[in-house]
């Protein structure tokens, strides 16, 4: 009887304990040590898995140089990255250092990101000498600098020499090619492909991010002027029609069939001959198990003398609730320094924003299996423009809606180019008015 009573008492205590644990576990604060000289734990949150190896390289070197600092790198899938960040930053926690992109202002307005001006001044850093000014300015709000540029996006073309050779097509993309050359080559590839191939090439059919918006710029058009969308213009309509013609002529997959299409995989397997490719996916091609020299890079084909492609750049930012701001700054400074960026570049993923010749050389070396890269970047970067969702962050809200309610029916033939550009303007204006 006594043992029964004891057992029952233990059970009751256990139940109460479990309840208290359940209630209080959600209230645990972020781990961190504090006192000077003691070990400090920092956390760094990123999203691109392709970048993980390079970032870890740089972290290892940082930890070697700072024996009292331990950095935990957490890679969160991109579609969950901001959800996790919203929850943790909203609770006054979150990583000490994190990647930010065109959503940065949102977190800055919410007071979650620390201004870095004092640290920059203390270390006498001249950011515009170290990184492209366009990217530095992206993270400057109300004359305060909140982020240090991490990378710079570059859109390029890559072709698979093995496919061209197998098909007997000698007319290959070149550094001075034009849009008409691209169409001509794709038509020849198509004529020689049999049913075992998917399509001659891949062109991003999206409005934003490597897609139609770049063609508008190449034709001399604009998306927004005086805070009013201007896609419904002669240049906008022509750009929409140019990309749709690629689909209608069978030079790219029908957009309706490309929902589950993966361009880098198709390039590696030789299902397509050439593809417009972003720098952040380049390592998938450069590390593919194919003979060296299989992939060759060239810039965007010229239209009316322009090779305009969009760009964006991520940055490293500091959590304003970090318990170790000095150490977090040390980490940011190292990751974006010549040494840190070089180590990152050796991982082969995104092209570092750091302008040092050594860093650029490390990036080209890491991706040397893709030939023509240096010349391609030199021809592309001068004509770059800020992605519409980067320059007008409100447009990010309706980006997916433009693709699903305008671009998809346009490619399906249920909207004309005039209607599609007008509807794009309506959505962009609605976003800009908020």
């Amino acid at each position: 009887m006594l043992s029964f009573m004891r057992a029952r008492r233990s059970l009751v205590v256990g139940a109460v304990g479990l309840t208290l644990l359940a209630v209080t576990s959600g209230c645990a604060t972020a781990s961190s040590d504090g006192a000077d000289g003691e070990a400090v734990e920092l956390s760094l949150q990123i999203w691109n898995p392709a970048d993980k190896a390079g970032v870890q390289n740089a972290i290892d070197a940082f930890e070697d140089a700072n024996q009292n600092i331990d950095v935990t790198l957490e890679q969160v899938p991109e579609d969950q990255y901001y959800t996790k960040l919203d929850a943790s930053l909203g609770a006054g926690e979150g990583p000490d250092v994190m990647w930010q992109s065109s959503r940065a202002q949102y977190y800055i307005d919410g007071g979650a990101i620390e201004p870095l001006d004092d640290y920059i001044a203390e270390d006498n850093l001249d950011l515009t000498a170290l990184y492209p000014e366009q990217l530095v300015d992206l993270y400057n709000f109300d004359d305060q600098q909140y982020g240090i540029p991490k990378d710079q996006d570059v859109w390029m073309w890559v072709y698979n020499t093995a496919v061209f050779e197998a098909l007997g097509v000698t007319d290959v993309p070149t550094t001075d090619w034009t849009w008409d050359d691209m169409v001509r080559i794709a038509e020849e590839v198509k004529a020689k492909q049999d049913g075992s191939y998917t399509a001659p090439m891949y062109y991003p059919y999206f409005f934003n991010n490597g897609g139609v918006s770049g063609v508008i710029k190449q034709l001399g058009g604009e998306f927004v002027e005086d805070n009013e969308a201007t896609v419904n213009s002669a240049e906008g309509i022509e750009a929409y029609e140019k990309v749709k013609a690629l689909q209608d002529d069978g030079l790219i997959l029908p957009v309706a069939s490309s929902g589950d299409f993966n361009a880098p995989t198709a390039m590696i397997s030789g299902q397509i001959a050439f593809s417009k490719t972003p720098s952040w996916l380049l390592s998938l091609l450069s590390t593919a198990d194919v003979p060296e020299g299989t992939f060759v890079a060239v810039p965007q084909p010229e239209i009316d003398g322009s090779r305009a492609t969009d760009t964006n750049g991520l940055s490293y930012t500091m959590n304003s609730n970090s318990s170790h701001k000095d150490e977090a700054w040390d980490l940011i400074k190292f990751l974006t320094s010549d040494e840190g960026a070089k180590l990152h570049a050796e991982g082969g993923a995104a092209q570092p924003a750091n302008l040092s010749a050594d860093v650029k050389a490390a990036y080209f070396e890491a991706n040397k299996s893709v030939s023509g890269l240096k010349e391609t970047f030199e021809a592309t970067i001068p004509d770059q423009f800020l992605r519409i969702t980067t320059e007008y962050t409100a447009v990010r809200e309706i980006g997916a809606q433009i693709e699903s309610t305008v671009m998809a029916p346009f490619y399906a033939g249920t909207l004309t180019a005039d209607q599609a550009t007008q509807q794009t303007d309506d959505l962009v204006n609605e976003a800009l008015s908020k």
């Binding site: 139940a15 309840t19 957009v255 309706a256 069939s257 929902g259 299902q271 997916a400």
Partner: protein
């Protein structure tokens, strides 16, 4: 006949009086302990259900992003629904999936439950196969079906092409995607209803079937006039839970049409997927997302009430019911 002695009687009375007092004391203590054991569950319900629901209602009257303090916006979020074309697309897709998937799940489950009653070679294997989807990781199954239906390299299109037909763009049209979603949801959903219906069939008294057989009713007549009516409580439960589950469909369309494939997303976006887009993608529109989730709650509640009304007419709980 000697009456019981007074002493014994007296000794019984106080005992009888004391016993209820002890029982009450013991009962209160037992109840306290019982409540303590219930505490984790009750706290969980209070925090994650009642507080969550109340917070959602409160949020639906707010203009709230994913980050920062919300501001009161009255009925703006509810008014916005009337001019939101994307919500209309999401609701239409949801109703379409429910109208196709729910009856398919019920029919497939009913057929499987009926077959499980029969004794045939391989019956045990059949039962195992029927229950296998219930213990399959849904995401793995969805990805597997996604590869099978893949437009360029999928096995299904390979078979179609080997028969001389053109490959089908399963993810590039509303019709194609509806087929894929239906196949996957039915595969993932029919096991548990099958077990419920099978258990319901076991509860039907054998003598009812025997009496009908003696009256000359054949097996098909007995199935439709005895089995189905007596199975109606289980059928009602299966229909209700399947409809509610399909109205809340999210994982299948999310995995098949991830947010970055936005060109095809309107072919399959459901109310819950739209809620997810609003609440968790881009800048977050959580006030409006909450209003959308409450609209779905009202729709599910209304459909459930209609079904409960209908059960009075169509569901037979036997003589006691």
């Amino acid at each position: 006949m000697t009456p019981p002695t007074l002493v014994r009687s007296e000794s019984v009375v106080p005992n009888l009086r004391r016993r209820p007092a002890r029982r009450r004391k013991f009962g209160r203590r037992d109840a306290r302990i019982g409540f303590l054991f219930l505490l984790p569950l009750v706290v969980g319900l209070l925090v994650f259900r009642f507080y969550g629901f109340g917070y959602n209602v409160w949020m639906s009257f707010m203009d709230a992003g994913a980050f920062g303090a919300p501001t009161f916006s009255g009925f703006d979020n509810y008014a916005r629904m009337f001019s939101d074309g994307q919500l209309g697309i999401a609701l239409m897709n949801t109703f379409k999936f429910t109208a196709i998937i729910a009856p398919t799940v019920v029919v497939v489950s009913l057929v499987c439950a009926t077959l499980m009653q029969w004794k045939f070679r391989g019956a045990s294997a059949f039962r195992t196969i029927v229950f296998l989807p219930a213990v399959t990781l849904p995401t793995a199954a969805i990805l597997l079906f996604g590869w099978l239906f893949q437009t360029q390299y999928g096995l299904i299109n390979a078979v179609i092409q080997s028969l001389g037909a053109q490959p089908v763009s399963w993810f590039g049209s509303a019709a194609g995607l509806t087929v894929v979603v239906t196949v996957i949801v039915v595969f993932l959903s029919f096991s548990v209803p099958t077990i419920i219906l099978y258990a319901g069939m076991q509860d039907i008294p054998a003598d009812v079937h025997e009496a009908a057989a003696l009256d000359g009713a054949g097996p098909i007549r007995r199935y439709f006039l005895i089995t189905l009516p007596l199975l109606s409580p289980s059928l009602f439960f299966v229909i209700l839970t399947t409809i509610i589950g399909t109205l809340k469909l999210f994982d299948v369309v999310y995995v098949l049409l991830p947010p970055e494939q936005s060109a095809s997303v309107n072919y399959g976006i459901t109310a819950v997927y739209y809620y997810y887009q609003l609440a968790f993608l881009n800048m977050g529109d959580r006030g409006y997302a909450s209003a959308v989730s409450l609209l779905l709650f009202v729709i599910i509640m209304a459909i459930s009430l209609v079904l409960f009304r209908l059960q009075r007419r169509f569901v037979h709980y036997g003589e006691d019911g």
